[in-house]
Symmetry: C2
């Protein structure tokens, strides 16, 4: 496995792989790799002969007061994980390699970025879409892999790729969970043992929502109230949102029909946690 | 020469050319081709074995009340010109092929889009950068060719390509002028015979500006005043701006040093005309 922080070098390597007829898969990450990322790397290896993992804590997607400085950067450990799971190349650029001058050009998606996390993180998705555009242009992947845990990010990226005719396919892989249901996340390591225990209420609450819908509930407000009540049993949990939305437009639904995405965000001590599940109501 | 309006088809053709080791040159146009476009096609042929000319009057770069509906669309004539000058392919999509759903994703460049034409055409450059991104993603050119007559457009595209690491080179070709100095433009055909005659004052005024600077003038305000005075001899000419700007940032300069771009925009009857020249003051 090769590792570089240089754009010129990664371009040479992917051009070479392309010339050899290999398909190129990209797994864009901020590092601090966990079982969720490993599932993405493995999905990429099943689809593509040449897998690139990028490790880049992208400053432009963090807002003021967010955890950019504290975001974990266990570089050596990340490299070992990429190697163990068969990545061909790790691309780990510095901020100045990615942003060598004042960045004047932004890729932004309106509408679907304004719901859910977009409400509390106003420039977050603009940073994500811009850095993903840069990574796609640098690496030139045939397929890029994202996790369903970041459901809004996945919907936004899909829409960007469609609107701008980007020549690649987006694959979204299922959320990886621990035995007790907690979605794995780099930010889980901010949690104390007690908070880690408390955090499991999020998935239990989502499951109660699922059961209500599968038992016939069609009023989104009632389902939301139940989920909030379950999460509210943990006093330290500060709910940011519990939303039932259309999986594509991410607009709130009132009456539940077809597939619905239940998405939640909450603060627990130092961590902001998000999770979601897709539920098919079976109703038209 | 082949002609298509379909994205899938142009992608197949350029993929084939790429597989044959050909370099792909793109000349993005809105059609109504003239000698300026011909110079771009010829420059593309000197650099690239496979030249694509796109013909697309892009609705998203026109503002309300602008000339989108009236913009000339002499399709057969354009095809003949492309054929005569050795284009391999013409890509002429419909608006619904390029924008099949509500467009939510925009590429925008701040700063350099806000000067000159950006003041009177607030969303124009966002439309240009978005459609160019789409065309680049569809065609996959090694080199794209633009004219210096649209100096601000060229500067904006260059900056976008650099900021987003787009994997292509931008070549800017000199402005093509008629014998009397008027820059060729698709919009010149809006002019009556008398207006066509009056329009030549623009280039004469720019040349007076050049002479002042080459004779040692360093006060941009004085040069601007002279250019405005020369253009003012044509009563029908409504000056929108006369600006002396840094060629890269497009910010106004007060004291002239190094290279300076003199850019003008004016209305003459039904036409909005723009022109510019680059002057090297020889001063540091």
């Amino acid at each position: 496995m090769q590792v570089t922080g240089k754009i010129d070098e990664i371009r040479q390597w992917t051009a070479q792989a392309r010339a050899e007829g290999k398909h190129i898969g990209l797994v864009p990450t901020m590092g601090a790799l966990h079982a969720g990322h490993v599932a993405l790397i493995e999905a990429a290896r099943r689809r593509c002969e040449f897998v690139v993992v990028s490790l880049f804590v992208n400053p432009t997607q963090f807002g003021p007061g967010e955890d950019f400085d504290n975001y974990p950067r266990p570089f050596k450990q990340d490299i070992a994980i990429c190697e163990r799971h068969g990545a061909a190349v790790v691309f780990a650029p510095s901020p100045s390699e990615m942003y060598p001058r004042e960045n004047l050009t932004w890729v932004s998606v309106s509408g679907i970025t304004e719901h859910l996390c977009g409400r509390s993180r106003p420039n977050h998705f603009r940073g994500v879409t811009t850095v993903c555009t840069k990574l796609f242009n640098i690496v030139g992947p045939d397929v890029a892999f994202f996790g369903q845990k970041d459901a809004q990010q996945a919907a936004v990226i899909r829409r960007m790729v469609a609107d701008l005719n980007m020549p690649l396919e987006i694959v979204v892989c299922p959320t990886v969970r621990q035995g007790d249901g907690l979605a794995v996340s780099s930010r889980n390591q901010y949690l104390s043992e007690r908070q880690r225990e408390d955090a499991t209420v999020i998935y239990r609450a989502l499951q109660e929502g699922r059961q209500m819908i599968e038992s016939g509930a069609t009023d989104a407000r009632q389902v939301r109230a139940r989920i909030e009540a379950v999460m509210g049993r943990v006093p330290a949990m500060q709910i940011e949102y519990v939303s039932l939305v259309d999986p594509e437009t991410l607009e709130d639904v009132e009456r539940i029909t077809g597939a619905v995405l239940i998405a939640v965000a909450a603060r627990l001590g130092p961590a902001r946690l998000i999770d979601n599940i897709m539920v098919d109501s079976g109703k038209t």
